[in-house]
């Protein structure tokens, strides 16, 4: 059986499936590389590719193709395999019927929403009656070397206003975070503000969820427009504080 192309094909198919379903999400973390489960649609694509590959291999040579078909043919024609034949003729249509039912039955599901997490920023914004051009804009505290002052001011502002959602540890796990959808962003790590310039972060703080451009919608974000609460200086201070406290650096304009 071990060198029979039919069973080899099935073995390869199952092995490939195990690799896609469990190998990809769980093996890389063992060597310290982060990974995630493969989405169902991608899994289907992978498995189709594997299936085509297997079919090409088994039909590539006349003898192998004949041997491959043999077990299938045997089940279909041999008198002594009659019960197996009947079992397949019932089981396969049943499986198809079940999959069909599962597809057409009414499901209680929410529509799927996609949104752009970091939509492009406008060229300029108006805060407190003044127009601010974002392109090339630096954090005044950083530019003037007033980091300590910004940190002290930003710490008070952060823990009074931002902590409830973005968390004591800036990890997005504040005590009220669970009530909002989308969840408040973690600020630490390389995925969020580390990829952004301080002027971008300033814009997001000043204008909040309500100030997102169209491509950032649906704007269900609970992020307030902090220009209603804080002065321009306070918003720059808390911007500086976020990077400092999260132990990351902002993207600079030279990198653009």
């Amino acid at each position: 059986m071990r060198d029979h192309p039919f069973w080899q094909a099935i073995l390869v198919f199952i092995a490939a499936w195990i690799l896609v379903r469990w190998g990809i999400p769980y093996v890389p973390p063992l060597v310290g590389i982060s990974s995630a489960p493969v989405p169902t649609s991608v899994e289907l694509q992978y498995m189709l590719t594997v299936l085509v590959g297997i079919l090409i291999w088994v039909s590539d040579n006349e003898v192998r193709w004949k041997r491959f078909k043999e077990p299938i043919r045997n089940v279909m024609v041999q008198p002594e395999r009659k019960w197996m034949r009947v079992a397949f003729l019932v089981a396969i249509p049943l499986l198809v019927a079940f999959v069909t039912y599962d597809t057409v039955r009414p499901k209680v599901t929410a529509p799927v929403g996609l949104r752009s997490v970091h939509p492009a920023n406008p060229t300029s914004i108006t805060v407190d009656g003044e127009s601010i051009i974002l392109e090339g804009l630096e954090n005044p505290f950083r530019a003037e070397g007033r980091g300590d002052e910004a940190y002290a001011l930003g710490l008070d502002i952060y823990y009074q206003n931002c902590m409830a959602c973005h968390g004591d540890y800036l990890d997005g796990q504040g005590h009220y975070a669970h009530g909002y959808n989308p969840l408040p962003l973690p600020l630490r790590g390389g995925g969020t503000i580390a990829q952004l310039t301080e002027s971008y972060v300033f814009w997001r703080i000043a204008k909040g969820g309500a100030g997102l451009p169209r491509e950032g919608q649906p704007w269900n974000s609970a992020m307030p427009a902090w220009e209603d609460f804080l002065t321009v200086e306070e918003m720059w201070a808390v911007t500086y504080f976020l990077y400092e406290q999260a132990g990351i650096s902002p993207r600079t304009w030279e990198e653009h």
Binding site: M76, V90, P93, V108, L155, D171, G179
Partner: protein
Amino acid sequence: MAAIRFLGLVLVLVTADLAAQQPDTERGRQVYERWCAACHAVDGAGEGPAAGYMLPRPRDFTRGIYQIRTTPGGDIPTDDDIMRMINEGMPGTTMPGWQDQLSRADRQAVLEYIKSFYPPFETMAAPEPIDFGRAPRVSDDRLEEGRIFYDSIECWQCHGDTGRGYGSSAPELEDDWGYPIRAVDLTKNWKFNGGGSVEEIYRRLRTGMDGTPMPSFSDLLDADFMTEDQLWSLAHYVRSLAPDRPPRVREVIRADRVEPGEVPTTVADERWDEVESFYIPLVAQIIVLPRWFDPSVDAVWVQALHDGNEIALRVTWHDRSESPHPNWMQWQERVLEVMEPREGDLDPAPRPDRLAVQFPRSIPSGMERPYFLMGTSDNPVYLWQWSSTDDAEPAQARGMTEIEPLGGSIASDARWEAGRWQVVLTRSLEPEDTSNRLTFERGTAIPIAFYVWDGDNGEEGTRGAISSWYFIYLLEDAPISTYVTPLMAFFLTGGLGLVVVARAQKRERALETASEGPDPTTPTGRNP
């Protein structure tokens, strides 16, 4: 040479070990000031810049009073007790756990630093943890025994008969610092400060929660009023007031379909008991001014039914009082005093409890929904507003501060009982006036959100508890195609299989005939 190297290694190890045992005050101070001082203050007195936004307030470390301990009431905690609070945080408060955030060495350093705010830690003898023994198995008899002690030692004075924290003393409670403190809702054990397992509950009963009105009941053991075993029964009973598992949050509330005219329109209708409950967490409204950082309601449970003509929602939430209640006026005064005036003054006044259920004005296509916080001027939302002192009514909101009634009313029935509100709201699926009011369609996800205000907690207007958008889905009787399509698929596949088999068998017979014939090279059937 090797010996010297070995000696050197031993020396390094010994000094490293000594260093590890020495409290690293400087490191502790750095970690504390970076991660703890915003709430607990640089001087450890618990009045940091963010403290005013929190109730209960952050711990004051200068008095050596700790709630969660393994030591007898009035004693200082063990190092392990403090480490546990640092590691796991305090559920139900603003204190998060730091186990995965700070290194072991940092946590150890900060523990020593915290102790340094209360000098007696150095001079007092190491505290002796109580031997709590092991939890006995739970049984019906034990729960009954626990219930009897719940009554006789008067847990209900603060926690109420049902455990929802609405006892007659509840409005007067204050902590050792004079701040108002809520009697915990025993039916939500996932929010217990010291953990919700039966072992942890037993420990709280034995040690009390210093700094709070929760006493230690060890003296009842000493006085032979009750035995340890009976106290375990009480712990089991308290544990049994909460569900086995914390509720799961699901995004879609399902409204099952019932026979026409069978929609229950009253709170007490027993048919609600059969209807699945959906848990929706609520959080503080801290997005628009004036904000409110201390909402007393943290969740609603929603049940829904429709009959093709009408829809009914039963919304349930825990609330310690039927506002406005005269006994709770002093609570409101005290809460407003410590949480206000932060964003404009609000005077204590008799205020009703309120509920608002929010929908879009029409079902959006795709994910485009009005702004979740009561809409905007160009995309308003449709509300059902209920108040404990008024009829329910439909309204339209263009933001939290611009709510206008639409006229007419929404059928409602409400009851406050034993620390819990239940409100049933009923409306026809199709409104008479469809311009501003939602038409409920079946078989589609309809956005829905909830707001609750606790009047006796000083909540009104923008000060309250909110949810984000969820969905409600009115189940339709499955169309006939749901059953026909799979049946057709079954017969089609089966028929196809039969044809394939029949053909294969025919070919096989042809092959056999051919091989018996004179010319075996004659091609038969299809060439593979």
